[in-house]
Amino acid sequence: MAMDQLDGNLIDTDVLVVGGGSGGLMAALSAKRHGRPGTRVTLVDSWLIGRTGHTAFSNAWTIVALPGDDIDGILHEIVAGNDGIADQELVRQSLIDSHARLKDFEAMGMHFHRDEEGRYKRRPTRGLDLARVMYPEGGGLEFAWKQRLACEREGVQLIDRLFITGLMRGATGDRIVGAVGINSRTGEFNVIKARSTIVATNAITFRSGFVRDITGTGTLLAYRAGATLRNAEFSYVRPGTPKFYFEGITFAIQEGASWVNAKGEAFMQSYEPEWGDEADVPRIARAMAMENRKGNTPLYLDMSAIPEHLREYFIQSKVRWMDNFFRKLGDEAKTDMFGKTPYYALNQMTKMGIRTGADCRSDVPGLLSAGLAQAGCANHFAGFHIGLCVGNGWIAGRSAVEDLDAAPPPALDQAEVRALHAETRAPLNDQAKAESDRILRDLQAVMFAYDIGILKREDRLQEAAEKVTALSDEFKNIAAPHTHELVRMKETEAMLLAARFILGASLYRTESRLSHFREDHDQRDDANWLVWVDVAQGGNGPAFSKTPIPTPYCSVVLPRRKPSRLAARQSVGGV
């Protein structure tokens, strides 16, 4: 049979990094720098490393602790702000390393904003008093591209347009020995043999976020290869409008914007008396959902308190694609953004990731994880997504090369490679119609309903799980007429599996915490639930379990206090 005929490339490397955002880029660079001379590092991405993916389209805000900053205080804020769901060891190490990474970025030619006296300009991030974010000129596009160029200079092998479709366990079956994938344009098959493999493919988004090319399939490949996943019950739900992208909500609120309902009432104060509009993003989302239930929608972001000159600032985004966006919307952006357009609580991505230790090693030998594919933190703070990716990328790269000497030479398994090749290509049928979009739309409708994704309850979660099962069954009957659809099908397949874990973990955690709000268990319960919820392959499908969260450095609660106003929290510092 033609399917059995192997045709493609075999690439041999020491460290394979899958995913070209800041987690993967830093992991590759770190592996190169920590490895002995001659260590081979290969970085692959399904599109263009440094130009596609979440980092490239972000504003690249990153939390940096400058010398003299209170690292333990910042750690405490982050841990408490995440309702305890954080790997304290990993977050702390990322903060400690952040100043050295800043210097690395500057050596790559990046410029971080400074005042007239040359001190770094820093901004506060939502609801936190000690943490400060820094932002490079040129936003994520420059941030990611300069990291790509650094990887090139330092000898990392970069392979664009390689979509990974499976991880290999090799001849001995006891460790990961690389991955297989296809060229995302031509479909050409590739096998990459590696001694350490780092998965850094971001989180699953269900194509809902502002960057809809992020599909996070690597996380699910890791699960299939035996890794445990974590934090599936949490998601990054943030206020937004389907009409346009507005990344400046944190800034706007700091400058005096507030959420109002259809009656013109500023509603946040009644849900979050102490924090009001500066509450954490999931709490704003929850309040919005409750306002919807009360019939108080549409909801608006009232920016009338913001002076005209600052409004201009929001439109003139530092992110190039967003700048294009607002410029082209013209007056519509100004009038709608500042009061007319209804906002929703929009689900951007799941916070599910691969369970690792603070060293970024997974439970499966030879498999590590970095970026948001790693389940280090369920954070919702502007600046911490990238901060954590940079931090855990650096750690993952170092751990990967530390493993090289001890790891046995990888031995491929012919039968496994053939099976993965057949599995990868199985849906191809040039007579078929492309139908995965239809299933995706149905899946989105199930997962993003506010009373499933934001206000959760047992009976509704179970009903949603049945719908996802039905969609998964329907998915088995579709095929792909070309490589474009084959890639999209693989992504949709991963989303269906992720949906199953999200609903399963949401049913499992019978309390409320962070973005996980159970109406039928509406209190946070530290006595029983200061745990991570893990999912791994069991005898009868996915098995959920609890892992207590260690608290070596700080408590998971912070004395609540009114955040100081923005003017008092603007700061400069460091060199």
Partner: protein
């Protein structure tokens, strides 16, 4: 969503294809007026192959050296919670 590429001004550099994160634009050989009678001449030009999958990231427009790509700032088909 991507609206148009002014093909008559296109040099065929292929940057729009390379930077697209959603595989929307494909460079494909297109027939063009031939320099020599009797010979078929083709040129690699961008084709908007999967417009419905455009994510409105503006990359093609931003990086086009000829400034001939037009992306409309409308965002369609985003799931809503209510």
């Amino acid at each position: 969503m991507i609206e148009n590429i002014e093909l008559e001004k296109c040099t065929g550099c292929g940057i729009c294809d390379v930077v697209c994160p959603a595989d929307v634009i494909h460079m494909e050989p297109q027939p063009v007026a031939s320099e020599i009678d009797g010979l078929r001449q083709v040129k690699l030009l961008p084709v908007i192959k999967f417009r419905e999958h455009c994510i409105t990231c503006f990359s093609c427009e931003i990086f086009c050296p000829e400034h001939i790509v037009d992306v409309h700032p409308s965002v369609k088909n985003r799931p809503r919670p209510w």
